[in-house]
């Protein structure tokens, strides 16, 4: 733990303590009428004590748990009662007392741990009889990570899932997830389903989640048809259990700091190196001796400020959750209330969230049950009226030789574009706030049809509604702008931002207020059939689903307040007269589909499944709107064969699986591209005609009535095996996937004289993707130490089979390459002499010693951006990811660690901005834009005295070293101690004193150690960055109390 102060309980959380006290009083009141005391010990088959086994008197809702030594003690009302024993991973057992008062109980391990219930599309399946490829994580594993948003908690924990977190901004620090890599040019986001409905899951409270599973192959995902090609993530929230209410309170608090960020030059260093660079550029050095002295002394308008230090502080997180879980034979409930608060480590960036959930299951009659899930949350984002990447950009650009303030006013420097002052941006720019309220509900009626055995009918209606109010208040503020003269610094005050009153020319504040809402209504009606006839196990599902998602939003910006103190639109003088000042829009997205699935098993050995979805999308014209996505899979449990049991007795389970199927994606086709439309060029007027400002219209995209969905054909083969009673578990899958009809731009194939009169995109591209996933598990016990390990390794490599390559040399074509592969020049090192330059191919005509020497690939004697690039690096999305989760417990201690990493990827510090072109960045060009530079770059730059330098010539000028090239490419592979948690369960004696069943406290951390190739930036930093919100390292301490 670092020494930083952790603030326990602040803000709204302080109300929790009285609440908890009330809970104590309430629940400790259940005193029992004493009769007989039963005591005993619970062990497993190997004779090891079992800790935490629930013991309940049948028919009575009171119970206890075994202590660390497996002992228990319980009062029973009468001596002929029956005790029930429950323990996860073990078979439930009932023991009739028949007068006994001392019991020694042995629980049988549930050897069908593989019979874990897996959540699949529109249902559940037993793991043993599954033929598709599904990976699942339960709440316990999820909670090993410090609570953050869920997507980042999944990194490294599920085989087949790749998570990349590219920002640490509070409220936006989710990881982008990929199931089995990417196999299309467009969106690769998997479909996310929460409790059966498309919803986002990032901001659920982790305590609400029962399990998360990912559907990887077509067999598992075909029931989601046209939206399933990128895989499906299914999230299931917790349900109540048939037990006396248990209340769990958990709390954690943590601190955050940057994983990595480079140091930048300080004032004197800047002046020294700038002068040196000017000399090398053949110019007069800017800083005179007296200026240098002033910088050191902080006089005459100079100073020495570390701007990065001014913006980064230690961030904090807090998390509270109270949940109640309980029920009886007829009604079960799970209720959870959570609060999460994050103060960013960039000052003034904050996020907090309240979560609420109530899941209730009840039987109306014996045949008819009803389930109502209601979830809600509020997300609040509080930021300065600026973007954190702008703040970081300002801090790394700004002159370090300026003081914080001059003449009582914050200063600004103007390296090239606009005024820079990160601190003023954070403190003076106003604010940008949003409050999002989410309401989600599922109402599910299930009727077990009494006349047909195994048949039930379901109707699920779901209604979600969210709305967001946002406001942004912008305050004009002044800065003292520093200008460097020939031997001095001068300041003039200027407004850094703001809008003027057109009449008075005075700067005024503006206030934006916006409202947006979205609602989704979904209905699912299904028939389920499950029956066993002799050795034949049959299940069948038929389902119809229809949903409509609608959004609506509007906003307005007002300008001019008499007083800024109350920010309310009513108090502004007018709608802002820069731009239109108001906006509004709506969308409506309907979807429908028919789902079918039949599974068959013979004697639990031979397994088969057929499934599919007939799916429709409004994005295509009516005639080609519907498509069928089928899948077939087979399984063979050879371990159930007698000959196998005899031959390989140490193997508990071996199952082979194969599957084939088709999945679709309509995500990359915009709506209404099948018809001609005319739209305003802009929401604002464009021309003055007749003295009036008038709007102007133009044609929208050239229509393409033939647009259709992408189809991916999936093949999967794998096996599940377990050895020596679970000591070793192996799951292995290989897959091959071909995606066709990928939307591809065809502009490169038409001459420009056609004027883009052709559909800009057509269904043309083909990408294939192959890979494997391996998961190994081990559960073992050494004396009192329980140990488990779960390792996973994924690899997925895609290849472009067909793409519309524009007019480029053959060696630049992307056919046969992977998506996201990086192109650029090959750097041969740095030029060392004019002579070398004269005899080499160069860019332009201004190359000097110390500039990068590029390889002239087409041998035409000059370096051309369009002609001399080739493939130089992997995509920044890793081809291989791996995770190793270790967990151990010893007596009251528990421990878990997750190592997570990636390989076969490259990180570019500069190069192509997607779709924009190329440029240097602060991390690659010395004094980029005339601003500050990182120390590593300057100290390792080429100068006549340092000719063996790693980086190009020290210069204040723009040079040709900014092209994408191998010099700025780093191997992006990394290994990271992603999570670490050490917990301690307070001895029963102590927890008894507060009538708690269990008290556990822990310390945890994330991103604690990182091993990677680029020592300056986090390995998950975005490619080509000019400053971004860095990834965070987190240290957390927490407590869980169960009553």
């Amino acid at each position: 733990m670092k020494k930083n102060k952790i603030t326990f309980l602040k803000g709204k959380s302080r109300y929790l303590i009285p609440f908890l006290c009330a809970c104590f009083i309430f629940f400790s009141g259940s005193a029992y009428a004493q009769t007989t005391v039963i005591q005993g010990k619970v062990k497993d088959a190997k004779g090891e004590n079992l800790i935490g086994v629930s013991i309940k008197v049948k028919g009575v809702n009171s119970g206890v748990m075994t202590d660390v030594n497996g002992n228990f003690k319980l009062n029973v009302p009468k001596s002929n009662a029956t005790l029930e024993f429950f323990y996860i991973g073990f078979l439930n057992q009932e023991i009739a007392l028949k007068g006994k008062t001392v019991l020694n109980v042995t629980l049988q391990e549930d050897m069908k741990l593989l019979d874990e219930v897996m959540v699949v599309g529109y249902g559940t399946q037993k793991k043993s009889s599954m033929t598709g490829s599904v990976a699942q994580i339960d709440n316990k594993q999820l909670m090993q990570a410090p609570p953050a948003n869920i997507s980042t908690m999944l990194a490294g924990r599920l085989p087949g899932l790749t998570a990349v977190q590219s920002s640490g901004k509070p409220g936006s620090d989710d990881a982008s997830l990929l199931v089995r890599g990417s196999s299309t040019f467009g969106s690769t986001s998997p479909m996310v389903i929460v409790d059966g409905i498309p919803r986002s899951f990032n901001n659920l409270d982790p305590n609400e989640i029962q399990s998360i599973s990912i559907l990887k192959d077509a067999s598992a995902a075909a029931v989601y048809g046209m939206q399933a090609a990128n895989g499906v993530i299914l999230v299931t929230t917790k349900k109540g259990s048939n037990q006396k209410a248990s209340i769990t309170y958990s709390y954690s608090s943590g601190i955050d700091e940057n994983t990595r960020f480079p140091e930048f030059l300080d004032g004197p260093q800047f002046a020294y190196y700038w002068n040196k660079a000017m000399e090398l550029d053949g110019k007069t050095p800017t800083f005179t001796e007296s200026m240098l002295n002033s910088i050191k002394a902080g006089t005459d308008g100079f100073g020495n400020t570390n701007w990065l230090k001014q913006i980064f502080k230690t961030g904090t997180t807090q998390h509270h959750n109270v949940s109640v879980d309980g029920g009886n034979d007829r009604t079960k409930y799970f209720i959870s209330v959570g609060y999460y608060d994050q103060e960013g480590n960039v000052k003034n960036f904050g996020f907090n969230r309240f979560n609420f959930r109530s899941n209730v299951d009840t039987k109306i009659t014996d045949d008819l049950s009803l389930n109502l899930n209601i979830g809600g949350r509020q997300e609040n984002r509080n930021n300065p009226n600026t973007d954190p990447s702008t703040v970081v950009f300002n801090a790394i650009q700004m002159y370090p030789f300026l003081p914080m303030e001059y003449d009582g006013m914050e200063v600004a420097s103007v390296p090239q574009y606009g005024l820079l002052n990160p601190v003023a941006l954070l403190n003076n720019s106003g604010y940008s706030k949003s409050e999002m309220n989410v309401f989600q509900s599922n109402l599910n009626l299930k009727w077990n049809v009494p006349f047909v055995k195994g048949l039930n009918l379901n109707a699920l209606v779901s209604y979600d509604h969210d709305y967001t109010t946002s406001s942004a208040f912008s305050v004009p503020y002044q800065l003292n702008v520093a200008a460097l003269g020939y031997d001095k610094i001068t300041y003039t005050s200027q407004y850094a931002a703001g809008f003027k009153d057109p009449n008075t020319n005075e700067y005024e504040s503006t206030l934006y207020e916006g409202f947006s809402k979205a609602e989704r209504l979904t209905g699912q009606f299904s028939m389920n059939y499950a029956n066993k006839i002799g050795l034949h196990d049959i299940t069948a599902l038929f389902l119809y689903e229809y949903g409509k998602y609608r959004t609506h939003g509007f906003g307005v910006t007002g300008q001019g307040f008499e007083f800024d103190d109350i920010q309310e639109l009513d108090l502004t003088n007018r709608i802002i007269n820069y731009g239109k000042g108001y906006s509004g829009m709506s969308t409506s997205t309907p979807r429908a589909g028919y789902v079918g699935r039949i599974t068959y098993a013979y004697d639990n050995k031979y397994l088969a499944e057929v499934s599919g979805r007939y799916d429709g999308s409004y994005r295509f014209k009516p005639e080609n709107r519907w498509a069928f996505f089928p899948a077939v899979s087979l399984g063979y449990r050879i371990s159930e064969e007698d000959f196998f049991k005899d031959a390989v007795p140490f193997m508990d389970n071996l199952k082979f699986r194969v599957s084939w199927g088709k999945l679709g994606s309509d995500a990359n086709v915009g709506a209404f591209q099948f018809y001609n439309y005319i739209k305003p060029i802009s929401a604002n007027p464009q021309v003055v005609i007749g003295g009036q400002q008038q709007k102007a219209y133009m044609t929208d995209v050239v229509p393409n009535p033939d647009l259709t969905w992408e189809v991916s054909t999936n093949y999967n083969a794998g096996f599940d095996a377990s050895f020596w009673h679970g000591l070793l578990g192996v799951e292995f899958d290989v897959f091959y996937k071909v995606t066709e009809n990928i939307l591809a731009s065809q502009s490169g194939n038409y001459p420009s004289s056609v004027g883009n009169y052709f559909p800009s995109t057509i269904n043309y591209g083909i990408v294939d993707n192959r890979g494997f996933e391996l998961a190994l598990t081990n559960n073992s016990q050494f004396g009192e130490v329980n140990f488990s390990a779960r390792g996973s390794l994924n690899w997925a490599r895609n290849k472009i089979i067909r793409i519309e390559d524009s007019d480029i040399p053959a060696y630049q074509r992307s056919i046969g390459r992977s998506l996201g592969e990086k192109d650029g020049f090959v750097a041969l090192g740095l030029f060392q002499s004019q002579e070398e330059i004269d005899n080499s191919a160069v860019v332009g005509s201004n190359t000097l010693p110390g500039d990068i020497k590029y390889k002239d690939l087409n041998g035409d004697g000059k370096i051309d951006y369009d002609q001399d690039r080739t493939w130089i690096g992997h995509s920044s999305i890793p081809e291989m990811t791996f995770g190793l989760n270790l967990a151990a417990s010893y007596r009251n201690f528990d421990f878990s660690a997750l190592f997570q990493g990636a390989a076969i990827c490259d990180n570019a510090l500069m190069g192509n901005y997607p779709g924009i072109g190329w440029d240097d960045t602060q991390f690659t060009r010395t004094f980029y834009n005339g601003g500050n530079s990182p120390v590593y770059l300057i100290e390792n730059s080429w100068t006549p005295e340092n000719t063996t330098a790693k980086y190009p010539r020290l210069s204040t000028q723009y040079r040709y070293n900014g092209y994408a090239n191998t010099m700025w490419l780093f191997d992006g592979s990394y290994l990271r101690l992603k999570n670490l948690q050490i917990g301690y369960t307070i001895p029963k004696v102590a927890s008894d004193m507060i009538h708690a069943q269990r008290i556990r406290c822990y310390i945890a951390g994330s991103n604690l150690l990182t091993f990677s190739h680029n020592p300056f930036l986090d390995p998950e930093a975005p490619d080509v960055t000019n400053g971004y919100y860095p990834q965070q390292k987190n240290y957390t301490a927490g407590l869980t109390v169960t009553f």
Partner: protein
Amino acid sequence: MKKYYSVIGVVVGLLSFFSCSLEEVPYDKYSEKIIWSTPEKANLYLNGFYTYFSKYGQFGSAQFGTQGVLTDGMTYALKYASTVPAYGTPNDYAYYPDNITSQQNSLDVWPGAYDRIRRIHEFMDGLNKYAEFDASIKTDLEAQIRFFRAYIYFQIMIRHNQFIILDKLTSEKNNPLGSTEDCWKFIETDLEFAAENLPVTRSSSDAGRLTKGAALAYLSRVALFAKQWAKAKTAAQDCINLKDENGALVYELNSSYEDSFRKSYFSGNKESIIEFQYASPNITHDMDLLFAPGGDNGNSAKVTLAGPTQEMVELYELKTGGYPDWSQWHSTTTETPPYDQLEPRFKASILYNDATWKGRKIQAYIDGVDGFHNYGDYQQSNGNTVTGYFLKKVLDENKTVIDGQSVTPYIEIRLAEVYLNLAEAANNLSDDATANSAINSVRSRVGLPWADKSGTDLGNAIKHERKVELAFEGHIFWDLRRWGLAPVELNDVSFHGLRITKTGGTTFQYEYVVVDDHDRKFPELLGKTFPLPLSELNNNSSVEQLPGW
């Protein structure tokens, strides 16, 4: 049992509620039929084409790929201060014309222009297919749209001297280049159609739409480039003599030179023939933001992209005719240059040290509020001049807030140019009397004397007059190429400025400095054509790269 029936009833009710309709309509655009349902809506569609004037004109971004980067920067007229791409591209191209290639050429407009040609043809297609209104309205719409087609093709023509003649919508990839002659004829035919069918004046609600005079004026410019002297002469004369329904001249030279390029026709500047009007807050331009001297302040980013060179300044005559002796300012001196004695067009176009501007004095000296630095000292101007001068012609002196919200109109063509077109055409037809009279009209407005000339002398005088009268209006680069003078005047030269140091309260030292850090190059080939873009060559098997490229 009854319970079940009611449950089934509820479920069936829900099922029927969830129909399976996937029909939707967009909420942000209209079908083509709607837009052609009335002339008013069709006019809104047509409005989109009027934005081409703001895009391809001096205040737009098409001329040199970036707003504020003017083709004048390729000549002695303007020196750009930036050393890096975008704002520094004119310097890059002037020093290293090899950087202009078929893959990369900021001066090229080919792809964007053809995209607009396609949109023009879409409009014509819709007009034929869907418009069911008066023939006269349809003819007016066609005349306007054909003007724009000519306008866009002309942009291609001055760059490549040829283009692919398309006259309707097509997805055909392989189309040949038209001959230079056919191309000019195609443009002229469109303009002639426009001139015949556009009205002389517009009703007040249509004020600002194209008129007959616009087509004639533009035709006089086009014909000059096509060397169709007779056509140019007639068109220019027809434009100059155009009368409205009351018999009054539609266009007249503005008595004030400054107003002639800065004021709208609709604010009484009868010299403006085609203009694009700006209006706050939505339709504005950035010229003040991009060119105001740093000392104008108020703006957060001091850009001041470029300044006129000493060579440009020395083109201005004395008020009384003739030229001052500049030799002592070709070294170092403390004498004040003879700015005050120069003809009025100088002061209207260029800001110099100590000039009065917005109620203050320009401080174009080292460490002045406007400031000076040597070209190359910084990557950008930081508000300073690198020549000792600032460009005044595109600025609005009444604008106190320097933001991107300028509303001075952009005048695409004004009557003074038509007079000079006439003069040049007539001179080439050996009609020196008409030429002398035309040039005299332009000079007499600013009080300059004129002695009739003839032949080549007259031709050279007309060229000189164009350089001065139309300075910084986007002509000079194209005129020099058209005259074949670009490879002469712009090759193997460096241009100059005055580095000014304040030596006392009101005293300055002027030092003649080279503002280029390399000699400029201008190959013959660049004077004739630009290369065709690679994207065309690779996908159109019917064209080959232009000779020499």
